[in-house]
Symmetry: C2
Subunit: 204 residues, 2 copies
């Protein structure tokens, strides 16, 4: 809930709200630690040292490491909203809209930093993997597949998800060439037809 909590608390208490700022700093440090040091290598004490505050303050906001992990791996609101917007694009143009949204997402410094950490953490942390699975199945995939035939919509959406995830990993996380440096327009031309077929083409 962190991103949401931080954002809503900033809204209700103003941008200089100390609680919101502190929670954001703690979860940012926690994301980096969970992603790179894993569950076992992350401690509330280490996070406190990283942020430069007393461990008691971290404990004040997050009573356990589980709670901190949960707060640190919430998908950014702006990203969820951007995906939901692609579902309002007319079906025949949605393949391109989804590829352009992948590019926007991964070139957005704050969103991509959070998503990268969630992916890295999910890779080795079963709790985050489960959360990501639930999130994909309950929120992301139905949104991509909105307006599609009910029976096949989740299957089609998970095929879209497979291409989008692999593309993001190779182009933005592992930076495999030449995929990492083709232009955005080239990428759209190459990959949008795949997404479009998964959304509305013949699959059988």
């Amino acid at each position: 809930m962190t991103e949401e909590r931080t954002a809503s608390e900033k809204r209700s208490r103003g941008p200089r709200d100390e609680r919101g700022v502190m929670v954001a700093r703690i979860t940012q440090a926690a994301r980096a630690s969970f992603a790179h040091n894993g569950w076992a290598g992350t401690t509330l004490r280490g996070i406190a040292r990283e942020v430069g505050v007393d461990p008691a303050l971290v404990h004040y906001y997050f009573s356990s490491k589980e709670e901190l992990l949960d707060a640190s791996t919430n998908p950014p609101e702006a990203w969820i909203a951007s995906i939901q917007r692609t579902s309002t694009v007319a079906l025949e143009g949605r393949g391109e809209a989804i590829v352009r949204n992948v590019i926007w997402t991964w070139e957005h410094p704050e969103i991509s930093e959070v998503l990268r950490s969630i992916l890295l953490t999910a890779a080795h942390e079963p709790r985050t993997q489960e959360k990501l699975r639930t999130f994909l199945a309950a929120s992301l995939l139905p949104s991509i597949a909105e307006q599609l035939d009910d029976e096949e919509r989740l299957l089609r959406a998970s095929l879209v998800g497979s291409q989008v995830l692999g593309l993001a990993m190779l182009r933005y996380v592992w930076r495999i060439e030449p995929l990492a440096s083709v232009s955005d327009d080239e990428l759209v031309t190459m990959v949008a037809p795949t997404i479009q077929r998964y959304l509305s083409g013949s699959l059988r």
Copy 2:
């Protein structure tokens, strides 16, 4: 080098060769530990405890944690060979051959266990990520793209890689439904045209 070393030493010294068996047990335990506990959470001492041997024995085979990581994250020979075989399939049938090979790979208990660990480790371990990147660029992608037009072959191969990786993650690692339980033949029908287009279709 482990899989290779183990295999070749088994060949030269017979199946009961103690060194080969011990190296295989150590690297298997190391793979699981690097994947789940990360670099910081893995120690030669912990691996020794897991295998039930003296730490000195682990040190005898692997002088450092770097060396053990390197040995534990070598792609299985049988997997590399299977990919190279798909490059000998006539181009017009290679899309299907590649999807069938993904299914074979991930349903092969030993190969999939190793690949899963490498993916999980690569997610948070820069050394393994770099190794995977080099391996993909130097060996895997050129093999997939053999016989293709030279200029675009790596780009086409990396698009294939993006779909294959995303598919493997969603279907076999995260087990997202309904993708996780569609039949093999359905999967081929749905995904082979994507791979085939990346290999030999019009991309621009």
